[in-house]
């Protein structure tokens, strides 16, 4: 089993190869540089360093969003093409789940991973480990950070926040949640591609042709069109 994991859904770019027993190689950067230029050379370099050929791969796991539309599409396009042409299974994992899974494994409570979604909004969900099983208690969604904090306040349980965009929303979260809000250290904010690979290890392969990113949101023109056509009915 040689699983290749690809995450280009946000600024962090991550590539990993794991074989179930161990993480063979992992590459992460967190810089504002063009993913389209760097992903394939990064995959090539990692496989070369790990003495692997494309034909050695047995599965592709990709971060399917949410995140930057373009970023997610680059990873998903490469993952779909590789899985199709190498004739191996393709699995998609929530980009938010990757963050929550690695930081939540040794934490007794709920984790809220987040990415900035502009204009005060965030992409987030709520995850936790229950009896050593990783579970989703609130599905990935987009909403205002202040609305999310207000929702979480009702539960009055401590929430661990994680993600590179935390500095943009930390004050909003603290203002509303006070000491109920806990924040992960900077070393946890880059989604680990090895974690992505691990999450995908036991998941069943999906239909490759129809595989699409989880954008969460419709394209703006699409939602406006639906709105306009609903009014006509």
């Amino acid at each position: 089993m040689k699983i290749l994991a690809i995450d280009t859904s946000n600024y962090a770019l991550g590539i990993a190869v794991i074989d179930g027993e161990k993480v063979i190689g992992e590459y992460i950067t967190n810089v504002k540089k063009n993913h389209s230029i760097r992903v394939m050379p990064s995959i090539e370099r990692l496989l070369l360093d790990c003495d692997l050929k494309p034909a050695d791969l047995t599965k592709i796991v990709v971060a399917k969003g949410p995140g930057s539309y373009t970023g997610v599409r680059i990873g998903v396009t490469i993952a779909k093409t590789l899985a199709w042409t190498l004739n191996i299974p393709l699995v998609g994992v929530s980009s938010l789940a990757i963050l929550a899974s690695s930081v939540g494994r040794y934490y007794q409570g709920s984790v809220s991973p987040l990415f900035d979604a502009r204009r005060g909004q965030i992409y987030t969900g709520l995850y936790r480990y229950e009896d050593a099983k990783f579970t989703t208690s609130v599905e990935d969604q987009i909403l205002l950070a202040k609305d999310w904090a207000a929702q979480l306040k009702e539960s009055s349980e401590p929430i661990l926040f994680v993600g590179n965009d935390l500095p943009l929303h930390k004050s909003t979260l603290t203002d509303i949640l006070g000491s109920q809000a806990l924040f992960a250290e900077i070393t946890e904010h880059n989604p680990r591609p090895a974690e992505l690979a691990l999450l995908g290890t036991d998941m069943e392969g999906e239909e490759i042709h129809s595989f699409v990113p989880n954008y969460i949101r419709l394209a703006e023109a699409e939602s406006k069109w639906l709105e306009a056509n609903k009014l006509k009915d």
Binding site: S36, M40, R73, T81, L82, W84, T85, H209, E222, W225
Partner: protein, 343 residues
């Protein structure tokens, strides 16, 4: 005996997801195009974000269909040629990244192709090129006269200073309440009418091969507007015919002048507007009888965006040794002359 060469072409620069396989640069083995036009019609034009989403949905499906039609394995493919630009950046990215993944997975050379070079090379599938030649490229995004002294060498001698001819067609179509895309509708309507309305022709300064269509477009809009104010009815078929005549006059006259100055042996028509019946007829009338000049007009399926044209251009660039790295990026502002220096 020389081994046959098979090039795979991938094209996603706008709203067609296309994959083709071309043998020895000239013979189509597979040519699959998935059009998104039905989806974009709702919006009266191509919406970039939606185009990108559709490409992600379609690309592996189209790849599979092309490979099945060709009945080939990737071990038979000599190179992957992909549209690098110009076009919609988000749309181009899908083709480029998929092409890179394929090239990497199978250790096949990768070639970046300029979209317009592709349109020009669609002609090579019809007939072998004769140099020097002149290509008139007319599409939704382009109006250019390209001079080629040899394979893989491009010189833009004239281009539009404002709207592309295809853009002017779409805007005039909107003024006449015709559905998107407007080109075919105006062309059809023009066949039924007569060019009775006086509209301007932008010749620009003496000796220039550049084009300008925004003045003509405004003149059409004004004509309709003024008639409405006077409560008059303009026959739309006559307006369409007059508009089309004006566009064609300029395109054909400038091409004819360039043909003389550059002493070319072949005139090629390329780009989506090459499907226009009026333009085809006018070019045929101008050049068909001229000795020493061949006029080549590809069939409709090769005029609109497709990947066979990308593979055909890629075949020449492959022979010339042009190779792209895995760092190849989509380049919406790509210049066609970049091909000239990669020999």
């Amino acid at each position: 005996m020389k081994k046959d060469q098979y090039i795979m072409g991938i094209e996603t620069s706008c709203d067609e997801t296309a994959v083709a396989i071309v043998k020895n640069g000239r013979e189509i083995v597979a040519n699959v195009v998935a059009s998104q036009i039905e989806s974009h019609k709702r919006f009266g034009g191509v919406v970039p974000e939606i185009a990108s989403r559709h490409h992600v949905e379609q690309l592996t499906v189209v790849l599979e269909e092309a490979m099945e039609k060709a009945n080939l394995h990737f071990s038979d493919i000599d190179a992957i040629a992909v549209t690098e630009g110009p076009g919609l950046v988000g749309a181009l990215l899908i083709g480029v990244n998929s092409a890179k993944a394929l090239a990497f997975a199978h250790g096949i050379p990768l070639i970046g192709v300029h979209h317009i070079a592709g349109h020009i090379y669609a002609n090579r599938i019809v007939t072998e090129m004769k140099f020097p030649l002149l290509a008139l490229v007319v599409s939704g995004g382009h109006t250019e006269l390209v001079y080629m002294k040899e394979h893989g060498h491009f010189e833009v001698i004239g281009e539009t200073r404002d709207d592309a001819a295809g853009e002017a067609y779409d805007k005039v179509a909107r003024t006449l309440n015709l559905p998107y895309p407007g080109g075919p509708h105006i062309d059809r309507l023009a066949q039924e009418g007569e060019a009775t309305i006086d509209l301007p022709r932008a010749w620009l300064e003496e000796g220039s091969y550049d084009f300008s269509f925004s003045g003509l477009k405004s003149a059409v809009i004004n004509t309709v507007h003024n008639a409405e104010q006077r409560g008059e009815n303009i026959a739309p078929e006559n307006l369409a015919a007059s508009f089309q005549q004006s566009v064609i006059d300029v395109l054909v006259k400038k091409t004819a002048l360039a043909v003389k100055e550059y002493k070319v042996k072949q005139v090629l028509l390329a780009g989506g507007v090459a499907a226009n019946k009026g333009l085809r007829a006018a070019l045929e009338q101008e050049f068909q009888q001229v000795e020493g000049i061949d006029l080549v007009i590809p069939p409709l399926s090769l005029c609109t965006d497709n990947a066979a044209m990308i593979a055909s251009a890629g075949s020449i660039f492959f022979e010339k040794g042009q190779r792209a790295q895995l760092s190849l990026n989509a380049n919406p502002g790509l210049d066609i002359t970049t091909h000239n220096y990669q020999q």
